[in-house]
């Protein structure tokens, strides 16, 4: 709240960017509420992200947030859980390295096993989504399939 005492221009900026979850007075703007990540799809999302390039944990979070247009609400701890699990299963590999800001960071990289797992999960997801979408798009009273 101290920031509210800053320069005027900054103030507006800040208001717009405040977290909607904590301030009930702020109406929802153009962006809808972020979706909680569906159980079981986090792995797929992480693996997918890693096919672009190896990333450390925080970069992964930023990437997902950016790419999803902030529509997904990601619990950071859950992300690390997923990463450690997948590392154990051999879907990703991790190595300590140095980030752009010259800091120590643990970089995650997708493995061949991870790639095939990703392909499998993607195929499943797309089929599942299609099926569910089709089902719930039907209106009652429509012709029998």
């Amino acid at each position: 709240m101290r920031a509210a005492l800053g320069p005027a221009g900054r103030r507006t900026d800040w208001l717009e960017r405040r977290d909607r979850f904590t301030d009930p007075d702020i109406e929802t703007r153009a962006m809808p509420e972020p979706l909680a990540v569906l159980k079981g799809t986090l792995d797929m999302l992480v693996l997918n992200a890693l096919t672009w390039q190896p990333m450390h944990g925080f970069a992964l979070t930023r990437w997902l947030e950016a790419r999803s247009g902030r529509r997904l609400a990601l619990e950071d701890a859950a992300l690390y859980q997923a990463l450690y699990r997948m590392e154990k299963r051999g879907l990703v590999e991790a190595e300590w390295g140095v980030s752009e800001q010259n800091r120590r960071a643990r970089y995650y990289r997708i493995t061949a096993a991870g790639e095939s797992e990703l392909a499998r999960q993607k195929a499943w997801w797309l089929r599942y989504a299609d099926t569910v979408t089709a089902l719930v798009s039907e209106m009652p009273g429509a012709a029998e399939p």
Partner: protein, 875 residues
Amino acid sequence: MRHDVDEEIREHIALRAEQLEAEGLDRASALEEARRRFAMRAETMRGLYDAALERNRHTRMTERWASWWQDVRYAARGLARDRLLAGFVVVALTLGIGVNVTAFSLLDRLLLRDPPHIQAPRELVRLYGTVTTAVSGERTSSWIPYPAYQQLSEAITGFERVGAYRVTEQIVGRGMAARKLRVGQVLGDFFGTLGITPLRGRYFAATEDEATAGRLAVVGEAFWQGMLSGDPSVIGQPLVVGEATYQVIGIAPAGFTGTELRRVDIWLLGDTRRAGSTNWNIVGRLRAGTTQAGVSAEAAAVHARTSETSPDWFREANISAGPIRFDDTGREPFEVTMARWLTGISLVILFVALGNVVNLLLARSARRRRELAVRVALGSGRARLIRLLSLEGGLLAVAAGVLSLVVVRTVEPLVRGALLAGDAPWTLTLLDLRLLGMLAGVMLLTGFVVGVVPAVQAGTTKLAAVLRDETQGGVRGARVRAGLTVLQAALSVVLLVGAGLFVRSMARIDALDLGIDRDRTMVVRAELPPLSRFTQAAVDSLMQHERRVFQLAVEAVRALPGVERAAVAVGLPLDGGSFSAGVHVPGRDSVPSLPGGGPFASAVGTDYFAAIGTPLLRGRPFDDGDVAGSEAVIIVNETMARALWPDSDALDRCVRVGSAAARCARVVGIAADVHRVGLREQSSLQYYLPLEQQTMFGGATLVVRPTVDSPVSPAALRQTVLASDPSFRIAEPQPLRQALDGEMRPLRLGTVAFGLSSSLALVVAVLGLYSVMAYMVAWRTREIGVRVALGATRAQIGRLVIGTGGRLAATGVAAGLVLAAIGGRRLEPHLFLTSATDPIVFGTVAIVLLGVALLAGWLPARRATRIDPTEALRA
């Protein structure tokens, strides 16, 4: 691990806080917000720690496997580079391991395993009788006369069950297809006492006996499979054994031999009516609570009470009980003793091989010291290095272990055949748990020694000094290697001495004059149908018949090409003494009794002495004139001539055979002494009567002397004899030599075992010596170069090298001779006329080993003398 997780999360939160700061928050709020977003609750952290722990554990395992695999590949590559060395090591270890597994497998079967199919064999005992005679001293035997068996089996309460058996060789089948097989006869509750279950059919019941149940037989599984083709309907079929036909009522399980070591082909139900004068082995199962000693005492008491029923030679016998695994003389069977020896020898071979292999590997790791030092310097870690070197040793041991199965498969049947003369009741199965267990054990031992020793040596080398090339010749390593070489030499000496002693014994046996031509003489044992009634008339007519048909047979044989001489004889040399009949000489009160026994009698036909090769020293052999009606003549042996008529000529003297009232037989010839019993024999009184002039002795044999070129074949002999008269049941030609086989076997086995193993050990030891000296030259190249530069002659260099090797060899020889002298005591009873510390053998072995050592050093010495000082100093 927690540290890692904490750091990762800390970084994440810091970056998040940075992002938030960039968006306008102050630092403190940004940090707080970042933490909140991370959802850093207690259970979250715990969850992360757990996940990280599992992850780490998993990666550690995969990493470990990967590094092991990498080391194995590196070790394999390293060995592939040194192919010659690796090959030699594997061969040496394969032989060592293979020989050990073979020996253990035999020892296991003969000693450690219980006799097959018998229930609780520890509860079984065998009865032994110890008899003291004037001639042979104290003798223990498990053969007990039938009357004594009857008394003992009924009266001993310490036996829960008891039975008796005897195994003899009998003819099974007829004519050309007849075979001599090992046939057991059984009385009482024999099968019940042993507690076995039949494969098929049933066994004889405790109360059954040929008198009541008829002629019944139980066949062994091997016999059933072999000679009866495993026909399942064999139960109830007839079987011809000897003269009679038996009915098969059951099949014994595979490998069953009763309590014998060797196979038994058929078991027959004994006949109590005819058992009277025969001897039996008595086996009983101890009642719960009784001990062997208790039964011994009880048996002695029973025998003392009932001794009048026994034949007089057995009345004073001491009865005792002993374990069933002893042989019929109450001692451990020779086959078992031999198996023990073989195990010992195999261990010696293994140690020699190990010593040499370790030597070679130490030399190799010394050669590689720089490479290894660099590895450690680059961060490999000593532990990893030790692991690597151990892996090399381990790979070699594993390869050798697997290959050793091939050795076992080849060698074991040979040794088994030699030990049990082809009568082994079992065959080798490689997939046996105990055998594989032994293999694993020996492999572990080998792998440990071969892997650890060089590894430890490498682990204690000073790295920096190696890299600077300053090492002072790895002094401790060199001492270990020298010690190993000395050990190998000593062990080789021990084995060589053993071989030498046996060879000497064999030579002495060969040189022994047995009084016969043992190399050429063949003996044909032909059997006629035995008597069913023992009346005097029946015996007389059989003897006449025998004489007639054997005369036909010998004439037919004489006509064969390839036969130089042939004769009929009753009572042959090397037959265990056979016949003995007292003689009376006019002018003497008694005939002297010699340590060798006697007087042994033979009844021989014409041409006998020429056929069997016994020289006639004086006088003449029997001829066609010496028949029933003509003058009674006799031929005596040299000892008898000297004993009875020491001061005068024996020829033309009178001898009364049998009783003082018998007619005089005139001495017409003096024959050389022959061995009547076996190899170890003392002089005895021997005489010969013409076959036609006596009626006391029956059971004739043919003696044949084949020609030197194209001698007659045994098959031709057999056929001719069988064809000469239809009453011949079977005809078995055998070299006379074979009678000695029983006594020769331990010596032959000892010679082969020690001979082979000592050659092997010698080869390995020589290679060890060579490698030590070659290594020494390579290591001290610079020093030698300096010496040469300073004026040393080639001879001096040569002496330096050979001196080192010579000292090692000499130490080894000395130690080995001492060991051999100590251990030789145990060999002595099995040697023949050779002392266990025979100086010629010891001396020869010492010279051989030293000579061989010099030879081994010759090549490295030559190389040393050729060292160019400038090259050496530059290296």
